[in-house]
């Protein structure tokens, strides 16, 4: 089995199959990164395509010039692609935020309190959570997911997003503050 470096060499020599191998090896990681920002499958798929296309174009610069490993580099490209897409979506907003009904709020609180959830409850919980978290900026939500759900360290997040540790801390504090505001408003 070839290493990433060997595959990169082959890609730079014009081997398209080598690039497909890189794609197959790292597509889940890129998809996981995109899933922190987007929930819709077609959006995640688009980010995967954008990220790998950009990586292919920028691959000659990767060789010997980046200290990051290939997955970290791809993750950063994917995160930047997500942020770019979010920025363009802000210019032409399509997603409408829906207000939660009283019943939905109670359901959220009930599901939050219960530990054992079945698949149906899980789906309801996800739907309502997404509805509630839609009031939170996507980049804040992604940052909090990395911190709380993926339990990434501040340094790891900084590596992934290309931010300094202090910037990650500041943005995390702001994101937490925004989340509390949203929860205070709706829960």
């Amino acid at each position: 089995m070839r290493t990433d470096s060997q595959l990169i060499e082959l890609v730079l020599d014009g081997d398209e199959n080598a690039f497909e191998q890189i794609f197959d090896r790292h597509k889940r990681f890129v998809a996981r990164t995109a899933a922190r920002y987007f929930q819709r499958p077609e959006q995640i798929e688009e980010i995967i395509q954008i990220a790998f296309a950009k990586a292919f174009v920028e691959l000659p610069k990767f060789r010997g010039e980046h200290e990051l490993s290939l997955p970290s580099w791809l993750g950063r490209i994917a995160a930047n692609a997500c942020l770019d897409t979010l920025r363009s979506q802000k210019r032409k907003p399509e997603d409408l935020q829906c207000e939660l009904t009283v019943g939905e709020t109670d359901t959220i609180l009930d599901l939050t309190a219960s530990t054992a959830v079945n698949s149906e409850e899980s789906l309801i919980s996800r739907d309502l959570s997404q509805k509630l978290l839609a009031h939170l900026p996507e980049d804040d939500r992604a940052l909090l997911q990395m911190l709380y759900v993926d339990e990434m360290s501040v340094a790891q997040i900084g590596d992934l997003l290309g931010w300094s540790v202090s910037k990650v801390k500041i943005r995390a504090w702001r994101a937490r503050h925004s989340l509390r505001k949203v929860l205070k408003k709706y829960v």
Binding site: E45, V57, R126, K184, V187
Partner: protein, 233 residues
């Protein structure tokens, strides 16, 4: 049905937030399914192929913009160089003229030597001339340059023939400082001087006449102050 909000502290809010974040995310199986969707890699290749001509076009555009900037920069530099050279030439000529302006020195007690030409100025002016008494002897070329420079600086100056056979004499204007200074050089200019001004200077001119001005030659000292006046008409 009214909504009753509970008082929740920050810790509890954070716990709820974590739960919501965890609940809202896609599962690993779903992410795998999205990543493994057919046609994704073909989509990547399609984007690469569509990006390459665009990058070529962008490279061409960059070259075009760069070439334009280079042309504009070169033109600007050329204009600046020409301007600087013209300014240098002008300053050099001014310095040359101001250094070389010279009129024959008049000896004390002698009549002032006549100059080949006299500047004829329409209207009275008390402006100081740019004269250097200690300048080196002039050449015909230098005199020509002086006259040309004077014409340039004083557009209203005309060349008029000077009549050395004029019977009138210069009358000293006594209030204009050291009379001996005029021995170091000076300049004669012909002006249309108002009759009232000449009358105030002590000349016996009729105030009632058709012409409100009288032609007069003014001997201007090296410091630009009028030393003497001679009536022409």
């Amino acid at each position: 049905m009214t909504m009753q909000k509970r008082k929740i502290d920050d810790q509890e809010l954070d716990a709820i937030g974590k739960h919501l974040l965890a609940a809202s995310r896609l599962t690993e199986a779903e992410i795998d399914r999205i990543a493994s969707a057919s046609g994704t890699f073909e989509g990547v290749l399609g984007r690469i192929r569509s990006a390459e001509p665009a990058s070529d076009r962008l490279r061409g555009l960059r070259g075009f913009v760069l070439a334009h900037r280079m042309i504009a920069g070169t033109s600007l530099a050329a204009v600046l160089c020409i301007s600087a050279f013209a300014l240098f030439l002008q300053q050099d000529r001014t310095a040359h003229v101001s250094t070389d302006i010279h009129t024959p020195a008049a000896k004390p007690g002698e009549a002032r030597p006549s100059t080949p030409q006299v500047d004829y100025v329409k209207g009275f002016t008390s402006g100081r001339a740019d004269l250097r008494p200690d300048a080196p002897a002039e050449s015909p070329t230098t005199q020509f340059a002086i006259q040309r420079e004077n014409r340039r600086q004083q557009p209203r100056v005309e060349q008029a023939s000077y009549s050395p056979n004029n019977e009138n004499h210069f009358v000293a204007v006594t209030y204009t400082g050291d009379g001996g200074e005029s021995a170091r050089g000076g300049r004669v200019v012909r002006l249309d001087v108002p009759r009232s001004t000449l009358f105030a200077m002590g000349f016996d001119v009729s105030l009632e006449n058709d012409s409100p001005t009288v032609k007069a030659d003014l001997l201007i000292g090296p410091d630009g102050v009028t030393r003497a006046v001679r009536l022409v008409e």
